[in-house]
Assembly symmetry: C2
Homo-oligomer: 322 residues x 2
């Protein structure tokens, strides 16, 4: 019982494919469960993967299940997204490695010899060595065009939060700025002290409590849509700040491809829920107002406590013979 | 460079033993760094482990480094703390297993056969099968006696937050209640649908974004002081809700001991920073106001974004001969 019950506490957005446990169905609920809302969602509330904005990373130590799917956010980081596309097209990361895993913070990958000009992997044609920082965008860039869905819930990190094109967003109307929030699974571009020193060659994914203090300090380039478990369950590095002591401790990257360069038959059949759909709004509300196992309903969510669902692309409906 | 730099972004409270990278020392800072504050902290701001409230868990698959140190919170869950002490004294968990690891949520351990009355491990003498729920305590229980340090920063999950005896605490003055907040590394007692159905035999630790929606819904019994990386880096279970499909996928628990039952010479030499010390207040402030690598200072923290530091017990100062 306890197994089932604790699980109910979070069977919400994190695993939309999850069937509602029988026990939950029997328990009284003030609202529909996330599973019920997702089951009732129309096909038009889901979108496919954008081949020009999706990366497929395969880890070398994977037992056939180490695929990480990352969606880029060109609306928030156009320069970095373009550079990352060029890097992926050229196979820049193929054979490189995960160099750092710091518990409750980030998993970081890139060129282990990146600091050594003599040994560093050269940038391919079409990739820029230097890019402007893209820490925020003008607020009006995340309006209707991006289908911005604002959260009524207040938080302390930013005056305004919500979701745009599947990404968690924070904004400051007074400053006229919006930016991607550092939530679990978000992907950013490592930089040195100079704000404009990131070029997308070295990337990190958040694997712990949202480090919102990084917001507006570094360029966020996208989020992991699927495969976080392959990045978050890696052994932590034991050197300073989670770097690996020895090269053999690193997890190798087999390859990183842009989805556009993957044969259509090989592409993952995955869909992402549209965050400007009523299904998403209902899911957020189901997350605020919990029933069943819950004896206290929080009546609140924050932008990093709700993960935008993905699902396997459903089969085409059968066609009548013509 | 990027390695160092991204790291600076978080070299704060998470790893107090960490020497400040040279680059950081050169960079201008509005406040002292966490490392500088910790280096200057007087011995009186640190406390040792309480043998009656500390658990040592050793994972069976550990290469000699799988020790997890958990501190119990009897002020918040006296009944569960007492039961957990009795269970540990009797070696209840020895040879049991980690049964569930759900990405961005929890790692859970206990008796894999706990649901099967015929196979379940019997409770030892002195352990209760049934306990009252301990979801919150009267607000006045976390006043001066607990050295409650209130955070001025507002958040959306609770009207008041702060720290008491090293634990992140949330409170509602109108309701006159206080409770332990579900932050990364916090340990709770799994329950079924009945609020009073937990007895501490099945425990979980938070390994992802703080699931604050669980606050006031389940009994929180303490937090992991050291060894989170051994719980958070485990392979995720692939069955529903992160349970393992096959028994052989589970990580075994070698043993769980109460520190009081461990020979003094074998006890870990670890200290915890007192959260009613000025050192902790300074660390929180250094976390709010960042310098060096940061171009934007958040000016804010929340109760789950600052981890109370531990450190190896420093050697005794040399004694003059008598």
């Amino acid at each position: 019982m306890k197994h089932l019950a604790l699980a109910l506490a979070i069977a919400g957005l994190l695993n939309p494919a999850l069937a509602a446990p029988k026990k939950a169905a029997k328990a009284p609920k003030p609202t529909k469960t996330a599973q019920e809302i997702l089951a009732a969602s129309p096909a038009s509330h889901w979108r496919g993967l954008d081949p020009e904005n999706t990366l497929l990373m395969e880890l070398a130590n994977s037992q056939g299940n180490g695929q990480v799917i990352i969606e880029l956010a060109p609306r928030f980081a156009p320069g970095h997204a373009a550079n990352i596309r060029a890097l992926a097209r050229a196979g820049y990361w193929d054979g490189l490695a995960i160099v750092r895993v710091q518990d409750n913070f980030v998993t970081q990958w890139g060129d282990p010899d990146g600091e050594d000009a003599a040994k560093a992997r050269p940038l391919p044609a079409g990739a820029q060595a230097k890019l402007p920082a893209e820490f925020s965008v003008p607020l009006d860039r995340i309006g209707k065009a991006a289908g911005f869905t604002r959260l009524p819930d207040k938080e302390g990190w930013a005056p305004r939060t919500g979701f745009a094109e599947g990404f968690p967003v924070a904004a400051d109307p007074k400053a006229g700025k919006a930016w991607l929030a550092h939530c679990y699974g978000m992907v950013g571009a490592g930089r040195s002290d100079a704000p404009d020193s990131s070029n997308g060659t070295e990337l990190y994914a958040v694997i712990g409590q949202a480090p919102r203090g990084l917001d507006l300090n570094i360029t966020v380039v996208g989020r992991v849509l699927k495969g976080m478990e392959h990045l978050a369950a890696l052994p932590r590095g034991t050197a300073a700040m989670g770097f690996y002591d020895k090269p053999e401790q690193r997890t190798g990257i087999q390859r990183v491809r842009l989805l556009a360069n993957v044969a259509p038959t090989e592409r993952p059949a995955l869909q992402v829920l549209k965050t400007d759909s009523s299904t998403w709004t209902q899911l957020l509300d189901a997350r605020r107002h919990r029933g069943g196992w819950f004896v206290h309903s929080p009546g609140y969510i924050d932008v990093c406590s709700a993960t935008v669902p993905t699902r396997p692309t459903p089969p085409e409906p059968a066609q009548a013979p013509r």
